[in-house]
Amino acid sequence: MLLYFIKRIFLGILIIGVAMTLMFFMIHLVPGDPARILLGPRATPEMIADISMRMGLDQPLVIQLMKFLGNILQGDLGMDVISNRPVTAIVFGQLPYTLWLIFSAIIGAMLIGIPLGCYSALHRNTLADRISGVISVACITAPSFVVALYSLLIFAVTLKWFPSIGAGEKGDFFDQLSHLVLPAFAIGLAWVGYLSRLVRASMLEVMGENHIRTARAYGLTETTIVYRYALKIAILPTVTVIGVGMGFLISAAVLTEIVFARPGLGKLIIESITSRNYPVVMGSVLISTVLFVISTTISDLVNASLDPRIRANL
């Protein structure tokens, strides 16, 4: 079991390494002098000389790659070409906003989606089940930024129930909360549908299995059977799905942040692309990749520890 943990974490680190290497080669895709590209139009000869030395731009590619990776491992993602602040600081400054958004979206989706799926499974083929089934599919297929746009249009602009721009006053919890509602809703809606369908299918499968019949034969209460015996098994696919879904969550967050003019990685990366601020672009992508890899690694590890059957097969 410990071996599996180590192997899995090592794989995660390896993937991050390969991603960083790919980023490195991206710079060289752009026509022109890499130093100037990285530094932008305000590059002074001193800055160019400095960066050439730090990144070894006059040296063979392999050495450059080594220096590049080395820099990153030391926490140096380069400097923002416009404000001349370290990229790391900029990206980590914006990251919390995105994390909060993703976190609230998925927690909200789980709080609604999992019970909904449970209910549908226990009352299957009733009218309520069928209706929620169709609604679930509709939720899943509507692209999240369309949901975001409509939420903005209906709830913020027209009805004025919620604010339409930004993340709210720092330090004012409720203000920040009200700014979170619509964006989290936009991202979470698809997940409510997805999770409820998943839990429903999973529960139906588990409830039909022999050990549930045994539990009933032993007179265990329906509550115990559903919420402890069945749900514990049925919830496993949910864990994997959320872990892997981090990628979708990040993508959805990017678009939603733009729609609601919220600070975060999305806004950061779009602005950086427009202003050709390549170090920030790379830094944002790298951080989001690390986030994704951490998330899938954690979900794999949690999955392995929750289901003893998987543990036995390792």
């Binding site: 752009v30 509709a138 297929t141 369309v146 409509y150 990040i250 678009l255 990366i269 692309i273 672009v281």
Partner: protein, 278 residues
């Protein structure tokens, strides 16, 4: 084919999907015929109008007819979807075969590459490529294809490994059958079906991805109409008029719903057991 259509028709959602998809494809392919106006024709006099007999979906801030833009936007969506999935399938199959059949180190390297690509959130991958290479239809197709290759490649590779280890294949190999023969006779016919279904179920998300990127201004370049760029215009004008948003979102939602229902119907049709895989 006829049998397929008949069976899909028996499933109400599948039928709905088929109708929506047909509607979308026909209107996109025949955009030049159906569109009442040139989609990039400016007409400042008639800007920001709501729907009317003249302009079924109204006009945008430059007076362009939204209905025509929507029809031509469908062309972009279809182009991106089919070209990117098509190329992803081809490259994915090839790489998957190589990974499955070739030496272990090659397999491991290819799989690592696949895992890495899959570990970068798709939109981030697209954005960073666009940042360095510039936005265009070709870039879009390339990036979307690149992000889909690992999924298909992995399936092909797993199947190749399974087939490779089957006794009857080993027997054939002993008798001197060429790799090509084994692949084409034993492998490809079996995986092509599920692969195509899987690919068709990716279409909705790819259409959404293209729309999303165009919405961010990182997709097709203006003035080419794309549902995403219509939505972007609508976003800027959100306090003035809701119509561009409505115009851009309707085809997007209908297309994604249609392809999703159709895809699920096809999948259940061909093999209900796939429900667990896909």
């Amino acid at each position: 084919m006829k049998v397929a259509i008949k069976r899909i028709s028996s499933d109400p959602l599948g039928l709905l999907g088929l109708c929506l998809v047909t509607l979308m494809v026909v209107s996109a392919l025949g955009a030049s015929i159906f569109a009442p106006y040139d989609p990039i024709q400016l007409n400042i006099m008639e800007r920001l109008q709501g729907p009317s007999a003249n302009h079924l979906l109204g006009t945008d801030q430059l007076g362009r007819d939204l209905f025509s833009r929507v029809l031509f936007g469908g062309q972009v969506a279809l182009k991106v979807a089919f070209l990117s999935i098509g190329s992803a399938l081809i490259v994915g199959i090839i790489l998957g075969l190589i990974a499955g059949y070739g030496p272990v180190w090659l397999d491991n390297s290819i799989m690592l590459l696949f895992d890495t690509i899959r570990s970068v959130p798709t939109i981030m991958l697209a954005l960073v490529t666009v940042a360095f290479v510039g936005a265009s239809l070709t870039t879009l197709i390339f990036v979307i294809a690149a992000s889909s290759i690992p999924t298909y490649g992995r399936i092909v590779r797993t199947q190749t490994l399974t087939i490779k280890s089957k006794d009857f294949v080993k027997a054939e190999m002993l008798m001197g059958a060429s790799v090509l023969r084994i692949l084409s006779i034993h492998l490809l016919p079996n995986i092509l079906g599920p692969l195509l279904i899987l690919a068709s179920m990716d279409i909705p998300s790819i259409i959404a991805l293209e729309a999303g990127l165009s919405f961010l201004g990182m997709g097709v370049k203006p003035p080419t109409p794309s549902w995403g760029s219509i939505l972007n215009d609508g976003f800027t004008l959100i306090r003035n008029t809701p119509w561009p948003i409505i115009a851009g979102s309707i085809p997007l939602v209908l297309a994604t719903l249609g392809f999703t229902f159709l895809g699920e119907s096809l999948r259940d049709l061909l093999d209900p057991k796939l429900r667990k895989l896909i």
